[in-house]
């Protein structure tokens, strides 16, 4: 039995640990754990008022703060039986699209790409891949600007609130965003071409891909949670999705109807590619990604295709939305439970809150995409490692890292470092 201990595997979000033991080509132990300090957000919001949840839970993560804001607001509004106006909804979609463009561009170029080009980091590949990294920076910038203009600042947005927006963008700002998005489209298309030109391992995950599906559009904030086995309304999620705790991990594991499942860009494409923008469809057709796909490495190409789609979708909103000043709705506070479920960069995000008659939060539950993917990543590693036992240890570790990174996990919302103890 060989032993490898790797203390600092980088380029994932947060802290995680992998314990792996292989004996005569068989994996005898494979345990992936989030070792991030417990966050306690679901406890922190208890006793606070309904209008505080989104501001507090935004702090779960700087990378996907918009996602937590919008999911929390959606859940509270659901508890209060409030339906947002069309403008409010569209601006929320635009905010999350901006965040997704920024997140995908950063993950693709700075965390995933060095693996495929054989570099230790983006810094090391910079002299040779100047044009590619310029595309990355341009995409990150436009995503950031969307978040800044719509959300009020580039992290932890302050403009979105229960019942509407505290501040809406000027039409001129929307036009400027549109122009910037249009000039960034080529960078997104080049990203698709680049990631489609890379060589990906052949691997089929025995997983169930799940995502929000909307019968009219590529789901962002509205849709029904769908798996190959069927669909269920969000109100029933506790019947179908179970969280359980492993003492070794500070993140919960999540299963659907007793089985592991996966969420993310590839899931979304597996279900909703027909709703991609025409140019994103063209990029899909040109790419190596053949749908439906069970290969988690393809999540990387899926994210690149989503970049094109998100830019097109954002352009469409900036072009067509005539922004009006709308007062924030006065919503009657009442007791109730509400669920917000939305698609965010890494997959489906769930927020649930229970309020008492005074609007005080008495219950909260948050399930992040990475928590949903955790068991799946672990089981994919278990299934993948036997095919590599003849490779050098270093190469095996690199391949495991690539597999983990393809899911774009965020262990902060569960890992800055992955520690591999290989026995």
């Amino acid at each position: 039995m060989e032993k490898i201990t790797l203390n600092h595997i980088t380029k994932i979000e947060g802290h995680a640990k992998l314990d792996l033991a292989v004996d005569k080509g068989q994996v005898t132990k494979c345990e992936l754990s989030a070792v991030e300090g417990s966050r306690y957000f679901e406890g922190l919001v208890l006793g606070r008022k309904y209008f505080e949840a989104h501001e507090m839970t935004s702090r779960i993560c700087g990378i996907c703060s918009c996602a937590h804001v919008i999911a929390a607001i959606s859940a509270i509004e659901d508890a209060l039986d409030y339906k947002p106006t069309k403008q409010t909804h569209e601006l929320r979609v635009l905010l999350t699209l901006g965040e997704r463009i920024r997140s995908h561009a950063t993950h693709l170029y700075f965390l995933a790409l060095p693996d495929y080009l054989g570099y230790e980091s983006a810094l090391a590949m910079a002299p040779k891949f100047k044009k590619e990294l310029k595309n990355a920076l341009q995409l990150m910038k436009v995503g950031n600007n969307i978040v800044k203009v719509i959300g009020g600042r580039d992290l932890h947005p302050v403009s979105a609130t229960i019942g509407g927006w505290l501040k809406v963008p000027e039409q001129k700002q929307m036009q400027e965003l549109q122009k910037e998005l249009e000039s960034s489209k080529e960078a997104a298309e080049k990203t698709c071409n680049l990631f489609s030109s890379l060589q990906y391992p052949k691997f089929e995950s025995d997983t169930e891909w799940c995502a929000l599906v909307n019968k009219n559009e590529y789901a962002v904030l509205k849709g029904t949670f769908t798996s190959p086995k069927g669909v269920f309304e969000k109100s029933l999620y506790r019947q179908y999705i179970k969280e359980y705790h492993e003492p070794r991990s500070t993140a919960n594991f999540v299963i659907r109807a007793g089985h592991r499942y996966a969420v993310g860009a590839l899931s979304r494409l597996n279900y909703s590619s027909q709703f991609l923008s025409p140019d994103a469809k063209k990029m899909l057709k040109k790419s190596k990604l053949k749908l439906p796909s069970q290969n988690p490495y393809m999540n990387t190409i899926a994210q690149a295709i989503e970049l094109v789609h998100c830019i097109d979708h954002a352009i469409q909103i900036c072009k067509t939305l005539k922004v009006q000043k709308e007062p924030v709705a006065e919503i009657k506070v009442k007791a109730g439970t509400g669920i917000g479920v939305i698609e965010v960069p890494r997959g489906t995000l769930w927020h649930e809150y229970t309020l008492d008659e005074n609007g005080t939060i008495t219950g909260a539950n948050i399930i992040t995409p990475t928590a949903q993917n955790l068991l799946n990543i672990q089981e994919d590693i278990r299934a993948f490692v036997p095919s590599m036992v003849n490779k050098k240890k270093e190469q095996i570790v690199v391949e495991i890292e690539k597999l983990i990174r393809s899911y774009d996990p965020c262990f902060s919302c569960s890992a800055h470092f992955l520690e591999v103890n290989w026995q």
């Binding site: 380029k11 979000e13 965390l111 230790e120 910079a126 920076l137 600042r153 902060s412």
Partner: protein, 117 residues
């Protein structure tokens, strides 16, 4: 008119002094930055930011003097990494970073900063 890119978190007392100082600078265009992307495509960059563990203002023109590590997560995408990345990409920028202490005699520091802009 020269542009000065001001960095720092206004909510952190140990990180907001550059913003304080910038308020009293005249005849310059101030850009308050929350991320490094503002510096993309700029040929000549003057940055005002606080530097830990210095007593007097200083000028940094060699970005290799900046402490940064390879990006290990999205959270590490800071100004130092960004500037080093641009350098490695061969994007020529003339960088002048005016580093000021985290606190100190405001008037003296302003005078020094003005003379360096």
């Amino acid at each position: 008119m020269k542009t000065v890119y001001v960095f720092g978190n206004e909510y952190l007392t140990e990180d907001n002094f550059a913003k304080e100082i910038a308020k009293d600078l005249q005849d310059v265009k101030l850009v308050y930055c929350t991320g490094p992307e503002e510096l993309l495509d700029k040929k000549k960059v003057i940055i005002l930011d606080v530097v830990k563990n210095i007593q007097e203002p200083m000028i940094i023109t060699d970005i290799d003097q900046l402490k940064s590590r390879s990006i290990v997560s999205m959270h590490d995408f800071d100004v130092a990494f960004f500037l080093k990345l641009l350098k490695e990409m061969g994007i020529t920028q003339t960088i002048k970073i005016i580093g000021i202490p985290q606190s100190g005699d405001k008037e003296k520091i302003i005078a020094k900063v003005k003379s360096w802009i």
